[in-house]
Each structure stands twice: as structure tokens, then as C-alpha cells.
């Protein structure tokens, strides 16, 4: 299949899914109480986007996501580079990290609530906690991915430490770093969502959890659509940057 054919088929599939979402509940094949037709969801979406409480919730959620991201990524990156650069440090902590990485983070959510309450700080703390391990692991993988020959060649031409950092480390690590950025955002966003859904007074996650409990499905679907579109947009943006940066990689 050519590229344009693939895109056409994808659009056709998307239209089919959206069409089914509209037609099936309207025709009564699916209970419209359980799956509100697309048009109703979109209409509700327009309404909630204009609502003050939803806009406020969006602002809170966005702030939580950004603050946690700004804390977790640089901190995790520094720790990751350290654990890759210092062999002894790495030998001690890397297996522990793998171990911590594989256990469910959400189980510690109650601890964060006991310590931080259920406000802004708790959301940021929990999201940072659930993001930082993946950042550490990918950052150290990024350092390890640098071929030692590249560094050797640069050294043989008399490159300084700063030059090696700028000319070898940064370009070699860039694709992985961008990928890390993308994936840590997924972790981060999930962390904020789950802590908002679990115990909160505001935030979009809190609102959709409430709509679900009160069986307000058009609102619930509209909220899920907003969140999904936001998550996918960020993801695609970074992927686009990844693609531009990685052209030299086969």
C-alpha cells in the first residue's frame, strides 16, 4: 500500500468508528444511556468547555501536570546520568531501580494522601514519584547508548570535556531524550489523573470520576474525549520532533 492509500484507509476507519458511535445508539442497537451518540457527546463537550468550573478544573490539572513534569524530568535526568557515569553508584542502584520500576506505584497513593492531604501538592508529589523512575532509567540508557568510539575519536582530535558533551553526548542522546520526554509525559499525566480520580476536590480527573459515579454519561464521554485529545496531541508533537531529530538514524 502506498502512503496515501494508508492514510485514506485510516480516515475511512476513523469515520466508520465515529459513524458507528453515532448510528448504533440512535438506532437503538446499543443502549443510548450507556453509549450516548457522538453528536450528543460533542454538544455536551461544547457546553462543558464553556463552564467555569470545568475551565478551572482544566487549569488546575494543567498546572499539576506541568509542575510535576518540570520537577521529575530534570531531577530524573541528572540521577540517570549519574548512575550511568558512576559505575559503582550504578551497580548499586540500577537493580533497585528496576525493582522499584516494576512494582505498582498506585498502591502508594494512600501514603501520599496521608502525608500531603488531597490538594495540589499531593498531586504533584505523586505524579513526580510515578514519573521519575522511568526518567532515571531512560536517561541512563541514553548515556550508555553513546558509542565509546565516538568519544575516543573526539578525544584523539583533542576535544575538551565540554566539547565532547556538546558535540557527542547531546546529539547522540537527543533521540532517546525526546522519547523519554514523551513517555514521561504519559506517566506524568496518568499519575495526575489517577490521583485526581482517587481523592480530590477539583481537576478534570475528579470531574470525570464524579460524572461516572452519577451516571452522567454524555459529560463523562465529553471529558474523556478532552483528555484523550490532549494526551495524544502532546504525544504526536514530541513524536514529530523525534522524527525530525532522528533522520540520521536508520
Amino acid at each position: 500500500m502506498t502512503r496515501s492509500a494508508i492514510i485514506l484507509v485510516r480516515i475511512a476507519l476513523l469515520l466508520a468508528v465515529l459513524g458507528a458511535w453515532e448510528v448504533l445508539p440512535r438506532a437503538g442497537i446499543v443502549n443510548p444511556m450507556l453509549l450516548p451518540p457522538l453528536s450528543l457527546v460533542l454538544k455536551t463537550l461544547g457546553e462543558i468547555l464553556r463552564r467555569g468550573d470545568f475551565q478551572e478544573a482544566m487549569a488546575v490539572t494543567t498546572a499539576e501536570v506541568l509542575v510535576a513534569f518540570v520537577i521529575a524530568v530534570p531531577l530524573g535526568a541528572v540521577l540517570g546520568v549519574l548512575s550511568a557515569e558512576n559505575e559503582y553508584f550504578g551497580a548499586i542502584f540500577k537493580p533497585m531501580l528496576f525493582y522499584v520500576f516494576s512494582i505498582p506505584k498506585s498502591i502508594f497513593l494512600p501514603m501520599f494522601i496521608l502525608v500531603f492531604g488531597i490538594g495540589f501538592g499531593q498531586k504533584v508529589a505523586y505524579a513526580t514519584f510515578s514519573t521519575i523512575f522511568i526518567v532515571i532509567m531512560s536517561a541512563s540508557a541514553a548515556v550508555e547508548s553513546i558509542k565509546s568510539e565516538y568519544v575516543l575519536v573526539a578525544q584523539s582530535y583533542g576535544a575538551t570535556r565540554a566539547q565532547i558533551l556538546r558535540r557527542i553526548y547531546v546529539p547522540s542522546m537527543m533521540p532517546i531524550l525526546l522519547e523519554t520526554l514523551r513517555i514521561s509525559m504519559i506517566f506524568n499525566f496518568t499519575g495526575v489523573m489517577i490521583s485526581e480520580m482517587y481523592a480530590s476536590r477539583t481537576g478534570v480527573g475528579h470531574m470525570i470520576a464524579n460524572w461516572g459515579e452519577n451516571f452522567m454519561l454524555p459529560q463523562l464521554f465529553a471529558g474523556v474525549v478532552v483528555l484523550a485529545v490532549a494526551a495524544m496531541s502532546f504525544n504526536e508533537l514530541v513524536r514529530y520532533m523525534e522524527a525530525r531529530w532522528s533522520t540520521w538514524r536508520s
Binding site: 500500500m1 494508508i6 450507556l34 559503582y88 505498582p104 502508594f108 514523551r182 513517555i183 496518568t190 474523556v224
Partner: protein
């Protein structure tokens, strides 16, 4: 000065953490509400062992069904996506784009659809575990060395023979890595959904005791979940070792690092929870 081996240091750190868990609250450095002493936590776990055991049974039942769904459907779809080039080109980018969506936001929909009993947990955890299994099965099949297939064809292998004798054994390491992650995620998915809305299971005990500020019982439930997920990991690793005797140490290292990078790539996302 000789430095102690990393493993020794790790053990010491682990031991220190356990001691700190006991000592810090006892010495009043942290209120017991934040961190109840280890001994107290274990004591309530023993005291309430029947409550925890029956909750664990509910959780295990949900995990088992969700895992069956996630692995069965995941391997099937993954094999199709990985094996058929046109479907792969069509769907793989779509899947990895969808993967950016925190799956947990779907849980309110599942509770609205299936109620707050086991069904919604199974549905949610099934979806949760499905993606890594599907993606790594697809990757496992797609990355099979072309030469393996060529050699088998030169020896006159038919398509069913190609699938049974070359494609499946060659894909097993990657698929197993996916099952390990997918299985771990179904456990997480079940516990998380029990924590969010439910009336039974280990996750429910966590939330219920948190609301009444009974910290020791919250931590007791945390211990149960940790033991469960560690036990699962050990079990799958044992299966891997048994199945993959043919892999060299180097290759095994390579495959576990592919597993690690697979974790870091798209399938990883979900363990954010």
C-alpha cells in the same frame, strides 16, 4: 580501601529501610499516621489474616480472568498486526498514538457500563494488560531474522510448518517479555480499579482503611499487593528461564534489555499507574 560489593550495599540498604520502617515512627520522627511501625503493620496483617485472605481471593479471581483476556486477545491481535504487513502499517501507528491516552480515564465508563462488581475490574484490567502483550507480540513477530524464514523455505517448509517451527519459537522471548509486563499490568489494573470504586478486594481494603485513617491496615494491604506482584514476577522469570535455555547469556542479556527498552517504549506507559 576496598569498597563493599554492590550487592552487599544493596542488602544493607534494604535492611536499613526495614529498620527505618520500624525505628522512625517509634522514635517519633514521623507520626504513626504517616508510617506505622513495621511490627505493628505485620501484627494487624496477622490479626486480620482472614479478611485479607478473602479479599486477596477476590482480587486473584479478577486478575486471573483479566490476564486470560489480555494475553489471549493480545497475542492473537499482536500476531495479526505483526505478521500481516498491510495491517501493521495501517494500525501500529494508530495503536502507539492511542497508547498516549491514560487508560485509567476509561475506568469511570467501565463502572457505568458494568457496575462496581468484578466485571468492571476485569474489563479495565484486561484492556490495561492487552496493549503491552499485543505490541510485544507484534514486535516479536516483526523482528524475526529474515534468514530463519529463508532457510526454512529452502528446506521446503510449508506455511503451517513455518509458523509452528520457526515463527513461534523465534517470537517466544519477546512475547514472554510482553506477558510479564502485561500480567504485571493486569494486577495493577485490578488493584487500582478496586481502590477507585468497589466493595471488595485488596484495593478496596486500602481505600476503606485510608478513609478511616487506619494506617497500619493500609500498609498491611500494601504489603499484600507488593508480595503478589513480586511473586508474579518471580514466577514468570522462572518460566522464562525454563523456556529459554537455548539463549546465550549475551543474548539473554540482550533480550532483557530489549524487554527494558520495550518497557520504555510504548508498552511501558501503562505501568505509570
Amino acid at each position: 580501601m576496598t569498597r563493599p560489593s554492590p550487592q552487599t550495599v544493596r542488602r544493607l540498604i534494604g535492611l536499613a529501610l526495614l529498620i527505618a520502617w520500624e525505628a522512625v515512627p517509634r522514635l517519633g520522627l514521623l507520626p504513626e499516621l504517616f508510617l506505622p511501625p513495621l511490627s505493628k503493620t505485620l501484627a494487624v496483617l496477622w490479626l486480620d489474616r482472614f479478611i485479607y485472605a478473602s479479599a486477596l481471593l477476590v482480587t486473584l479471581y479478577e486478575v486471573a480472568i483479566a490476564m486470560l483476556i489480555a494475553c489471549g486477545v493480545g497475542i492473537l491481535v499482536g500476531a495479526i498486526v505483526g505478521g500481516v504487513a498491510s495491517i501493521r502499517n495501517l494500525m501500529l501507528p494508530v495503536f502507539s498514538s492511542l497508547y498516549a491516552v491514560p487508560i485509567v480515564i476509561l475506568y469511570p465508563i467501565f463502572t457505568a457500563w458494568f457496575g462496581i462488581g468484578s466485571e468492571s475490574k476485569i474489563a479495565f484490567a484486561g484492556v490495561y494488560g492487552f496493549f503491552p502483550v499485543m505490541l510485544s507480540t507484534a514486535a516479536g513477530i516483526r523482528t524475526i531474522d529474515e534468514q530463519y524464514l529463508l532457510a526454512a523455505r529452502s528446506m521446503g517448509a510449508t506455511l503451517p510448518q513455518l509458523i509452528a517451527r520457526v515463527i513461534i519459537p523465534a517470537a517466544i522471548p519477546t512475547v514472554l517479555a510482553g506477558l510479564r509486563l502485561g500480567g504485571a499490568l493486569t494486577i495493577i489494573g485490578v488493584v487500582v480499579s478496586e481502590m477507585l470504586t468497589s466493595a471488595s478486594g485488596i484495593g478496596y481494603l486500602v481505600t476503606m482503611n485510608r478513609t478511616i485513617l487506619d494506617s497500619p491496615r493500609v500498609f498491611a494491604a500494601i504489603i499484600v499487593v507488593l508480595v503478589l506482584s513480586i511473586a508474579f514476577d518471580i514466577a514468570v522469570r522462572a518460566i522464562e528461564r525454563y523456556t529459554l535455555v537455548w539463549q546465550s547469556a549475551g543474548r539473554r542479556g540482550a533480550s532483557s534489555s530489549t524487554a527494558a527498552s520495550a518497557r520504555m517504549a510504548t508498552p511501558a506507559a501503562a505501568s505509570a499507574v
